[in-house]
């Protein structure tokens, strides 16, 4: 655990010392701010829900940017060998990196609280709906970070990792739409694996245990896959 935390700290330093992360943050707040303003200025209602649909789309672009460096940078600089031969296990390394990514994700979500703060100065907000919606954003982002982390274990090139991450997220995003083109039962079956679709309950104020467990197990799957990909490099 100590090692995991040490790696997470190192990663967080990397995040906050790298100008790329700030560009990603700026991009995130620019797009979400634009959506927020457009929505609020047009509808002129104190309604938090339309925001989240747009936020989710922003994640699709920002999260691969934030995660593409995580492992691929080590592979490119050859520092992965140092890591892989260090006393820390691969599991600890991956978990540490993921922890850092989740903390960044948490900050993104916390930063977005500025929008309900602006709204609340104009009228009361539905508090449970708002907090559950932010929880849904955090869980969705954390799941997407896990996909991004896995993508970054696949290539030594940041750009390739970023594009792979984006492509994977896009496929996971489109699962629900793919279902639409099939037939109702297909949509139903595929829909339960939709990372975006799983936010619906939380965003209307309903806390469904199966949604929470879905995100947790989804994250676990991609962490295991990331560990397996790195393990493979160790034998070579």
């Amino acid at each position: 655990m100590r090692r995991t935390w040490a790696i997470a700290r190192k990663e967080l330093q990397m995040y906050f010392y790298s100008p790329t992360a700030y560009v990603a943050f700026a991009f995130y707040f620019l797009i979400s701010g634009f959506f927020f303003s457009m929505d609020f200025l047009n509808s002129q209602t104190v309604d938090i829900r339309p925001l989240f649909g747009n936020f989710m789309v922003v994640y699709l672009f920002v999260i691969p940017l934030l995660t593409m460096r995580l492992v691929s940078d080590e592979l490119r600089h050859g520092t992965d060998e140092l890591l892989l031969t260090s006393p820390a296990g691969i599991g600890e390394i991956i978990l540490g990196k993921y922890l850092a990514a989740v903390i960044v994700q948490f900050l993104l979500v916390a930063g977005a609280l500025v929008y309900p703060l602006i709204l609340s100065s104009f009228g009361p907000l539905d508090q449970p709906v708002m907090w559950l919606s932010f929880l849904s954003m955090f869980l969705l982002g954390a799941a997407m970070m896990a996909v991004g982390l896995f993508a970054s274990t696949l290539s030594a090139h940041q750009m390739v990792a970023g594009i792979a991450g984006f492509a994977m997220l896009l496929v996971l995003w489109m699962i629900e739409w793919m279902g639409y083109s099939v037939y109702t039962s297909g949509k139903e079956w595929l829909g339960q694996f939709s990372i975006a679709g799983r936010t619906t309950n939380l965003q209307k104020g309903v806390l469904d245990l199966s949604d929470i467990l879905f995100y947790i197990s989804f994250i676990a799957v991609f962490i295991v896959l990331s560990i397996q990909t790195l393990e493979r490099k160790r034998w070579r």
Partner: protein, 465 residues
Amino acid sequence: MKNWIKGTNAVVLSLAVVGIFIVLTVFLHSLKGTQWDLTKNKKFTLSDQTVTMLQKLDKPVHVTAFSDPGQGVVSRQITDLLQEYHKRNNKFTFEEVDPKQKPTLAEKYKIDRYGTIVFELDGQTKNVYADELYASGAAEGSYTFSGEEKFTQAVLSLTSNEKHTVYFLTGHGEMTSANASAFRSSLESEGYTVKDLNLVKEAAIPADAETLFILGPQNDLSEAETKLVQDYVKDKGKLMVALGLAKDMDQWKNWDAVLASVGVKNVKALAVENKKSLSTDPLTIVPEYGAHTITDKLSQQDRITVMPGALALAKDGANADFTATALLHTSTSAYGKTNINELLSKRLTTNDIKQADQDVKGPLDLAYAVENKDGKPKAVVIGNGSFLTNDWLTQQGNRDFVLNSVGWLQEQKNAVTIRPQEEAQMQQVVLTPAQGKSILIGTVGVIPALFLLAGGLIWWRRRAG
């Protein structure tokens, strides 16, 4: 060799993890009731009646909500609720459709307006209209949403095997199922089979006729037809009469006899209301409601009905076999013009409809619900037929009023009552241009710029240092 085994192990392990994930997700998805509704009014906690209905549902019910994408909150509240139904039973499915995007689907269900929610089971449909789900609430700035009641009712009426056949009487200038097409399709979407009936041709009222509709007759009945209708009423038959203005109606004897057999009298006076009418036309009356199952909901929901050119009715004291309850009545300041023939023969001016000495004094009753001695519904008589025409039916609560009347006549047993949710209106804000500008600049300009500045600073310091 060793690497090969390790590689296979990794693949197997990865596949196993993905497999477990899929199984776990499907399993968790199949669990019902693992959720907590944290909304203020518990608006996604379904009532026991709905839950029981959904548990019993064993045939697929598909719902198509035709909504305007710009409607926002309204369509969201409906789909959110439909989704809760779906969670309880996979046989209940729904989709939201923009009729502009799928015109063929809109054509198939004969959709003529946004907010039509079509419930379909085995090819049978029942429509619920979004605007009928909302009413103003008790508190200021609040509204009520009766979606659950209407949706559950819709499914129950589709799953019930009872078939109701009703007949529209023809041959005396009445509205037929063809020219009252909106009314007919409303009835059909409530599960009724609608047929036309010409008594001169058929010489009998069919055995499957549960209710005989007489909508705005223009001529009197023949003696033979009168006997048939009266016998039908004496037996198990039920009547739904909507009288329309007609020339020479003061000479009608046989229609009067039919009405008398259910204890109602046609006063033959055109109601004029100066106090409560639509768009200041004293002949387009917005009547007050009497206390009755048919009208209670409408008055609770503050839904008005509009009667263009209504005739006054009265109870027929001579008939002790039936009890007539007034459903609609005018204010005391209304009066009934008795010179109908004269009024029909010319273009009306304000002078023509002024109160005269011979006119009937208000308040006037405009509709009755008639029960027999055993308290069973027997007839609904309305002093207006025009409100059932295609143009008027969808106005205000007209459709609800007439469908409630038909439902009451048919003694619909599967009626459910679920208390509507009361919710606060979305807070509307009036932003000044300056406020709007500062929100836009703050969120799109200042916040991202701060991050860029911080990033630039770090880049510069790292380069320098």
